[in-house]
């Protein structure tokens, strides 16, 4: 069964995604492997399917670029496994671009 996930962008990261802050997406079934999506997989999927322009402003290698925080259900991904976190149905995943202005 496909996974329903809410992806959110804030702090300017949304500017790379047509200025849309909330995206409800369905992650498709994976063929041939256990049907698990990690955050690592999701970042790859976003790069291929959602990112409109300049991927280097969002991704770096298989992760997000420095300065972007990732929150899973409002909790720092660092506390729940980081790139290896296995996404659950109806998770909310928030990518925060850190602000520096004053």
């Amino acid at each position: 069964m496909p996974l329903s996930v809410e992806i959110e962008f804030s702090g300017g990261a949304e500017l790379l995604f047509n200025k849309i802050k909330k995206h409800k997406i369905e992650l498709p079934d994976k063929m041939g492997v256990a049907n698990t999506w990690t955050i690592r997989d999701l970042i790859g999927w976003i790069k291929e399917n959602l990112l409109c322009e300049r991927p280097e402003l969002f991704v770096q290698g298989e992760s997000v670029r420095p300065g972007i925080l990732v929150m899973i259900n409002n909790i720092d991904w660092d506390l729940v496994g980081g790139l290896d976190y296995v996404i659950n149905n109806n998770d909310t995943i928030l990518f925060i671009s850190t602000l520096h202005g004053g």
Binding site: S10, G11, G12, L57, P66, S97, L99
Partner: protein
């Protein structure tokens, strides 16, 4: 410059002036005495620093230091509300000092008209109890973080851009520091400041006011501080969001158990940009 002497009594005039705070049982005379004995350094007399300075001075902080190398421009006035039309061209620290003193002449104000850097930061910061990061660039944010870790000072960090603001407290009561969250700086071309990206003036107004409140709570030791927590404010949707951040990283390069960084470094080189990188920004406008 020596630290403030601890205040043990309030004068009659202070009891009248701060009466509305004194009658709060959580604050009380003890809280007011702690405010009077405390010093806060505000780095940046801009959109965040102005309201922060205003409310700290109003509440009776003993000593307020203000760091800024810049002078008042008319394009600042939509958000930097301590400055005035008549003081365009004056240094921001002098302008801020004048407004602060007319609101509360009891506050000792020290203007620091300079670019904070690895050479001067520790010597300035050491004299203050709480540091407010109201700056507008990545290099200064790392410089302040590392200085505060080395000197064991709490750092109240605010930022704002467009319709959004962010607030957290670093290096306090065992919580994480800026480097625990951001071990590497963002690529320079990913960084936008208020001159480039624009900002609705009242957004830093809200965040700067909240920075003042966080400083007051640290000083008076009441309430809950934003430790390991990040407040996100989206003025466009009118929503606030509370995020649970990681704990201190024992392997952090500066606040970890075995730190690699033991003194300040070259932050311009580290971040690939300068704090006063104004010209590049103006070209983008």
């Amino acid at each position: 410059m020596a630290a403030l002497a601890e205040s043990k009594v309030l004068e009659r005039e202070e009891i009248g002036r701060y009466g509305r705070q004194l009658i709060l049982p959580e604050w009380g005379v003890q809280g007011q005495l702690k405010m009077k004995s405390a010093s806060v350094l505000i780095v940046g007399a801009g959109g965040l620093g102005c309201p922060a300075a205003q409310y700290l001075a109003a509440a009776g902080i003993g000593h307020l230091g203000v760091v800024d190398y810049d002078s008042v421009e008319v394009s600042n006035l939509h958000r930097q509300i301590l400055h005035t039309e008549g003081r365009v061209g004056v240094t921001k620290v002098s302008s801020a000092q004048e407004s602060i003193q007319s609101l509360n002449s009891k506050v000792k104000v020290t203007p620091h008209h300079l670019v904070l850097n690895s050479t001067n930061a520790l010597n300035i910061i050491k004299d203050y109890d709480v540091i407010l990061d109201a700056s507008d660039n990545v290099a200064t944010r790392y410089l302040l973080n590392d200085s505060c870790v080395l000197l064991k000072k709490p750092l109240v960090s605010g930022s704002a851009l467009r319709f959004e603001g962010q607030l957290t407290v670093y290096n306090y009561k065992g919580g994480p520091c800026y480097r625990c969250l951001f071990p590497c700086p963002p690529p320079p071309h990913c960084v936008t400041n208020c001159s480039e990206g624009g900002v609705v003036g009242v957004v830093p107004g809200v965040i700067g006011s909240l920075q003042a409140l966080e400083a007051m709570k640290i000083i008076t030791d009441i309430g809950d501080s934003m430790i390991s927590k990040l407040l996100l404010f989206d003025g466009f949707s009118g929503t606030f969001r509370h995020i649970k951040l990681r704990e201190r990283n024992p392997e952090c390069s500066i606040c970890g158990d075995d730190p690699i960084i033991k003194e300040l470094i070259d932050y311009e080189q580290f971040c690939g940009s300068k704090p006063n990188d104004k010209e590049r920004q103006k070209e983008l406008l």
